[in-house]
Symmetry: C3
Subunit: 132 residues, 3 copies
């Protein structure tokens, strides 16, 4: 099963918790055991798992990534957003979470985040489920 | 099949070779062909594949990550470990290795490492196998 | 199905578009629906998805990675290529792309790149397909 979620971002860099949207696809597909893959079809965004409880973690993480790869006008790419492309490859465009008894088996503090690095934009996220 | 490994870390940042523990699950499950997914249910740790032969590589890698993202007391997150959260997203919480004739198909120098960024702690690693 | 691609790199750091080689394996395997996993069996290289249209993006990304992790002669690892090992773990050795109606479901601007960080070398890339 392959489904797409819609995500609307409102900042240039932003982490948006999509855990409940991903879980909803598993519940609707009635999958009991298997693997859930999340894939982002964009080159200036990514998908990552991190702490969902304290929003300060997300603020700190975005600050760390912006300090590591600043939005520098000297990039060759004419759109001037090469920082976003690099962050996309650092975080990654795909991830995997196990599914057990119909639920994403995330750790206590974990949430799945869409990672926007060149918003605000309308984005899509693919969710692929494989039983087994 | 979904199984959990236990990993005990002894340093704040540490790479622990878990290849033989992952291979043991494949052998016990008697899986011949398929995919092995490794998933870390923690937000201040990750899982990565890198050189298992020379321990200096692990020392250098941890030094590089600590230089890139220092343990800085100015983070907003009150626990003060936002560096570990950022490193977790840089390295990632999930990975995939092909399985062929009952073996992880790793390259000559590759090993699977649990990446501790905020230890020492007792940690868990999920191993999910899908035949095919 | 598990297949290997051959990739010849010509620079120390280089992004090589392997999308059409990966798609060819899916077409030859006649897989309609499922998951495509790409795995790099090397510890000084990786695999990533990013923009395939404007080559300046690749130039900028390699410059960003080289600035973040310079080739520093002070590494403990005697081969002196610990920068390449760190970049390999930052980018990752495995990724996933959904397959729908026999095609990799990549976004408009996306391509799959072999990421060389210690070339030039002869390299291999594993492609694993799982239907479902």
């Amino acid at each position: 099963m392959l489904k797409y979620l819609n995500v609307k971002t409102t900042q240039r860099t932003e982490l948006i918790n999509i855990t409940s949207q991903v879980q909803k696809e598993i519940t609707e597909a009635d999958m009991e055991q298997g693997a859930c893959y999340v894939f982002v079809p964009h080159t200036t965004a990514g998908v990552t798992i991190n702490e969902g409880a304290d929003p300060s973690v997300q603020t700190d993480m975005l600050a760390i990534f912006s300090r590591l790869v600043p939005k520098d006008p000297q990039y060759r790419h004419a759109e001037g957003n090469s920082d976003a492309h690099a962050k996309s490859s650092m975080v990654g465009a795909s991830l995997f979470v196990p599914v057990h008894e119909g639920k994403l088996i995330l750790g206590t503090w974990q949430a799945i985040f869409f990672a926007e690095f060149d918003g605000p934009r309308h984005r899509r996220v693919a969710v692929k489920l494989i039983s087994g």
